[in-house]
């Protein structure tokens, strides 16, 4: 590096290298911020039992402290949970007002289906209305609780399977039978019987689930009966070893990735959003690649190169700069209302006025994004085609190939890496777009995945969730910003990871194709 200056190059190589370093630093800072804020959310932080000078007591996880301008005192924010008892999830306390802080081992945190987290102690267990004596030692009581929880989890899983795999398809078939013209009483009879049997099994599971309840007590002495069926997870943060914490963290991340959102998206996971994002990007790539490649082939190989083609080329390049929301508006007007409305009136008129394709959905969103990324694919492919020496084309022609054969067997295979570069750029652009999607089919909540075991398997008309929109939604549309923020960071990190994974796949593919026929270094 020092030789630059000695060679009389002046300072510009330093400037260039500095810019690279700065860009890399900015990227690194972004990832570190998203990673630390997002991933820390799943870490089972210790819970403090705080006694104030006033004698009041509460339990909570310390989130952060702040000094408000003009106020000499430092305020501490605690995440206290117990919204059903206290009416609030958070608590600000002046640091000076705190008398003592302790970390008792038997303090319990429950993640619940309703009301969010509970922080407190386990007092008693009740099964079918009868109190079950709990061992005096808190470790053993914890052990009993864990056993009961395992049972509930197994039941919950059975119930989920029953309702998804048996009841939902039955219900759909019954509905289809009722709406169809032809009456088939025998078939209706058997279906109804199956339905009844399944319902009874479901009821039995529900009863079994409702058997156990917990009697809980918060640190300030309020009691509460909590059905065990509504407890999703339980842990004792102050009694956990490092290994336990790490396992708990891993489980938390796993559930965030694999579960659907709950409680206004402030709890649960983002699986439908990941799935929707990937699905939409894949569909978009499938649509945009053939169109983009064909258009590039026309521009570069077929059309006579003249002022008109140059004009078209400039127009295509400019299309890449049109703001994405404009494409959204176009998609809404043309795809959703125009084509979708027509499709509905032709094929789905029995469902009107509720629209099938005449409303935003996976297909229209993918099409809109395909349109948005079309210029990128065209430009990249065209550049790849232009790089292929004419000698290759003439070589093929001179062997008696028709123009089509020349394209198919020599030119296009050589342009595949360039096409993949185009697709990589398209994916990178499309996966991060949110604005146009809001107009053409993204949903705030759509736990049903667009791909399932029901014919036609891929439901192009269904609404879908998207990570980018999910971030916007939980961060800026929900109520509790403090609770949403870690999820915003985690989802943003995930979005980056999803895009990187999609891109790496395409890059790997491209590298693989390139490596096949490279001459060895000489």
């Amino acid at each position: 590096m020092t030789s630059w200056r000695r060679q009389g190059e002046g300072g510009w190589p330093w400037l260039a290298a500095g810019s690279v370093a700065l860009s890399l630093l900015a990227l690194l800072a972004l990832l570190v911020l998203l990673g630390s804020r997002g991933l820390a959310h799943f870490w089972p932080a210790p819970v403090e039992v705080v006694t104030l000078e006033s004698g009041e007591r509460f339990a909570g996880q310390r989130v952060r402290q702040e000094r408000i301008a003009g106020d000499p005192q430092v305020d501490v924010l605690y995440r206290t949970g117990n919204r059903d008892l206290d009416g609030s999830y958070w608590r600000w306390v002046g640091a000076g007002a705190i008398d003592t802080r302790r970390y008792p081992d038997d303090l319990l945190v429950l993640e619940r289906e309703h009301w969010g987290e509970f922080l407190g102690r386990l007092v008693a267990l009740r099964a079918a209305g009868d109190a079950v004596p709990l061992p005096a030692a808190s470790d053993e009581a914890w052990h009993v609780l864990r056993e009961r929880l395992t049972r509930v989890e197994a039941l919950r899983e059975q119930r989920r399977q029953l309702s998804e795999d048996v009841i939902a398809p039955l219900a759909r078939r019954l509905a289809a039978l009722r709406s169809s013209e032809a009456l088939d009483p025998a078939r209706q009879q058997t279906l109804t019987e199956q339905w009844e049997a399944a319902r009874q099994r479901l009821d039995a599971l529900d009863t079994a689930l409702a058997r156990d309840a917990l009697i809980l007590e918060s640190v300030d002495g309020q009691r509460l009966e909590q059905p065990l069926a509504g407890v999703l997870a339980a842990w004792r943060p102050n009694a956990m070893s490092w290994v336990d914490r790490l396992l708990h963290w891993g489980r938390g991340v796993g559930r965030f990735l694999s579960e659907g959102p709950r409680a206004g998206s402030l709890e649960g996971g983002v699986w439908p959003a990941i799935f929707g994002t990937v699905m939409m990007v894949l569909l978009m790539s499938l649509i945009v690649t053939p169109f983009g490649v064909l258009a590039a082939v026309y521009l570069n190989e077929v059309a006579r190169q003249g002022p008109l083609i140059r004009l078209v080329r400039i127009a295509v390049r400019n299309l890449a700069g049109v703001p994405s929301i404009v494409y959204g508006v176009f998609g809404l007007g043309v795809f959703v209302y125009g084509i979708g409305g027509q499709l509905d009136s032709w094929f789905f008129s029995e469902r009107l006025p509720s629209p099938t394709f005449g409303t935003g959905g996976l297909l229209w969103a993918s099409l809109t994004l395909a349109l948005l990324t079309l210029p990128v694919v065209i430009v990249a492919t065209e550049e790849g085609l232009a790089r292929i020496p004419d000698q290759q084309r003439e070589g093929a022609l001179a062997l008696g190939a028709t123009r089509y054969e020349m394209l198919r067997r020599v030119v296009l295979p050589m342009a595949v890496p360039a096409m993949l570069t185009g697709v990589i750029l398209a994916v990178a652009r499309a996966a991060g777009e949110v604005a146009p999607l809001m107009l053409v089919g993204v949903a705030r909540l759509a736990p049903q995945l667009p791909l399932d075991g029901e014919f036609p398997f891929l439901h192009l008309d269904s609404k879908f969730m998207h990570l980018g929109y999910h971030i916007y939604n939980i961060g800026f549309q929900g109520g509790d910003v403090e609770r949403a923020l870690p999820l915003v960071y985690a989802s943003a990190l995930l979005l980056v990871v999803v895009i990187v994974v999609l891109n790496l796949t395409a890059i790997f593919l491209r590298h693989h194709l390139r490596a096949r026929h490279r001459a060895p270094e000489r």
Partner: protein, 272 residues
Amino acid sequence: MSATLPSRVTSASAAVTDFASTASCFEIEGLCLAYDGKQALRNLTLRIPRQRVTAFIGPSGCGKSTLLRVLNRLHDLNEDVSRQGRVSLEGQDIHAPQVDVAELRRRVGMVFQTPNPFPMSIYDNVAFGVRLQGIKRKRVLDEIVEWALDSAALWDEVKDRLHGSAWALSGGQQQRLVIARTLAVQPDVLLLDEPASALDPISTLKIEELIRSLKSRLTLVLVTHNMQQAARVSDYTAFLQDGELVEYAATDNLFTNPRLRRTENYITGRMS
């Protein structure tokens, strides 16, 4: 003066000097060609004899490649090219509407100045044109590939790496591969546009031997800047200048006894 002239190496028969007695492969009559209005070939009339090597020589930009590319209609793709005159192959007008261009190009193979193997294996390169003919059977393909590589004097060098990339071959090997690829589709004519200009002397020698050995089966047309090469391998030589055919004669005659001053100046290197 004759001391400066290249001597002829081949033992061409005396009959070769008799122009009229050989059957013609191509007959070109009044051929004019212009690129976007710029004249590149001016009223060319000549016959290219069958199963002989005909060399085109002339200064750079005189239209040698242009003429060669007329013979297999490679100009078709270029809309800027306008052409008049008649070119017939074995008595048939190659520009007639009923002519299948792809079939014409199969019959009139072409090898370019820089080797242009496709980014495929050696085997696939040679089989490329054969597969286009609809031949898919592996045994037949294997046979043709071996035969073609053998004809191009390349078989021994590549027989162990047939499925390796063609781009990994040396320049000389690549050029012989391209010739093998062209031979594999059994052309009647082979057009060679400065096939050895990018090669070292040994590779050049190999290509020249190859050209001589192919003469018994094919008509060859060779463009070259190398006077010795033209003298060594060709039976007839045409000297072109500014798109015009200046002199065309049996190679022996042209080099030892050029009729025109312009020809003499060019081949003795006083002008180029």
